[in-house]
């Protein structure tokens, strides 16, 4: 049961620490509202008539899912970076803990933070665009969203692998995050993109997660089974292999037991 205690310990500490950074949490929560309202207002202004509220919903849900996706993808790499700066990482690694436990724990904690964000924004978006009666659909969408985002664990491990090698993960993760946001059809329909970018977007889990969640809220559950998202679980395996490869290379180069 040690692993469970370790995961719970990390998750609790991470969430507590983050929630006490009021500014960071408010920023995270207000980001989707700001951007979606701006986009909605711009759309209305350019077309000369009020846009469909469903577009606002589309954007709000898209932005909040974008945050969850990014948190889940970069959590472990950010944790390593923070740990190096604060000295926590060495203490963590001097405890009897497996690095994979750290990856899972940080991903859980960041996805829980994302979930809190998603619940706040999703309820507002659902009520604004549909009706209070759709709230149950929204709650179901949380489950769908998280299952669909599981392959992001693979991305998280790839980012961690890059993080332990280059140490300075922020510029890289910002670039990758922008790319994921641009090609996954999170904040606009993927069909608006050139075919090659659509292909890349559809080869990553984020597009499907957003589509499934939106479809679940709108009541089109059957869509889920038309998408090849189970195929995307390959990402977890690929992520694990990439991570192991980089970890070994790092250990060999630095002469450490782990990171």
């Amino acid at each position: 049961m040690r692993i469970i205690e370790q995961i719970l310990g990390i998750v609790e500490a991470e969430i507590r620490a983050f929630l006490r950074e009021v500014g960071a949490f408010l920023g995270l929560s207000s980001f989707p509202f700001i951007f979606s309202f701006v986009a909605y207002a711009l759309g209305s202004g350019m077309s000369g008539k009020p846009a469909d509220p469903k577009l606002l919903f589309y954007q709000l849900i898209g932005f909040s899912m974008f945050i969850i996706a990014l948190l889940m993808t970069f959590s472990a790499a950010t944790f390593v970076r923070e740990g190096l700066l604060t000295g926590r990482l060495e203490y963590l690694l001097s405890a009897p803990i497996h690095p994979f436990v750290i990856v899972v724990a940080t991903m859980i904690s960041s996805s829980l933070l994302g979930l809190l964000n998603y619940i706040i924004i999703g309820i507002v978006a659902t009520v604004l665009a549909y009706d209070i009666a759709y709230i149950l659909n929204f709650l179901l969408s949380i489950l769908i969203l998280y299952v669909a985002l599981l392959p992001a664990l693979g991305f998280s491990m790839i980012m961690l692998a890059i993080g332990i090698v280059v140490r300075e993960t922020e510029p890289l993760s910002n670039t990758i995050a922008s790319f994921i946001g641009a090609v996954s059809g999170l904040i606009y329909p993927i069909t608006l993109l050139p075919p090659i970018l659509q292909l890349i977007g559809k080869a990553m889990p984020y597009h499907y997660a957003a589509e499934y969640a939106r479809a679940t809220i709108a009541g089109y559950l059957d869509l889920i089974f038309k998408q090849p998202f189970f195929f995307l679980f390959i990402y977890i395996l690929a992520g694990f292999l990439v991570y192991k490869y980089f970890e070994r290379a790092f250990i060999k180069k630095r002469g450490t037991y782990g990171w």
Partner: protein, 316 residues
Amino acid sequence: MKIVEVIDLHKEYKAKVREGFFKSRIRNVKALNGVNFHINKGEIFSLVGPNGAGKTTTIRIIATLLLPDKGEAFVYGYSVLKEPTKVREKLGVVLYPNKGFYSRLTGIENLVYYGRLYGLSKGEALRRAKELVELVNLGKDAYRTVDEYSLGMMAKLSIAKCLINDAPILLFDEPTIGLDPLSARKIRSLIKELALKGKTILLTSHNMWEVENLSDRVAMINKGKIILMGSPIEVKQKLRLKYMIEVEVLAEDVKLDNVSIGERGYPVIKLTSEKPTEDLLKVVDEIREKGYQVGYIKIIEPSLEEAFAKAIEYES
């Protein structure tokens, strides 16, 4: 009983040396060059040496944070290379006195976090954390967030953290560095208290006075090699360090050797000696023979700092 055993440790780092904006070359730095020692149960063993001598590298290898290039270390008979998890269970580590915590969490919350990393349940970890904050005298400060802590409070919290898993062996890497004298004193008395409770302690420090007062045995390390080892007294004896003898004579006109005027205005005989008792008796006899009275007698022991300086001087 040997609790920690370090056998022929070698470690080399590759340091990047910049020679221009794009140009750099790799320089090999030998951090350890065949380090051997052991620590007995319940002992405070100190590693002292100049910066870059290899103290921290040795501690990190024992703490399973670094792999040696050659050699082996055992903790409670477990190999740091083959059984790192077992080794980690036996160790409590302080790598920095002022780092390693979530700044937005309280001292207690940080201790609970570390407790759970060692597999304690939340309740157990909390109970243990409360005991430890009492032990290290953090008191109510344990319920403040760490970003409000002074360096001394952080150092106490670091020690509490290293005790959270009730490990029998504690590794302290310069635990009093940067602390004010009062905080450093508190940390030293804590270390002594822990040794009395049966913990085995490996300590590194630049403070020779601290090492001399705390340690049962000392190893002096320089350029990755142990150059001298033993109890502080043995180390000084090995280097044949001399004692300083001071005898004040209560007279105005004294006709003796090695006399200078002391702080109280009386003549003081000052001499260095390898055999202070014999030489002191000779001096006192001579003073009495001449009919003078003795004011005070002082025998100043050579310090470990002198031993350290001499050992390094010999080595280089």
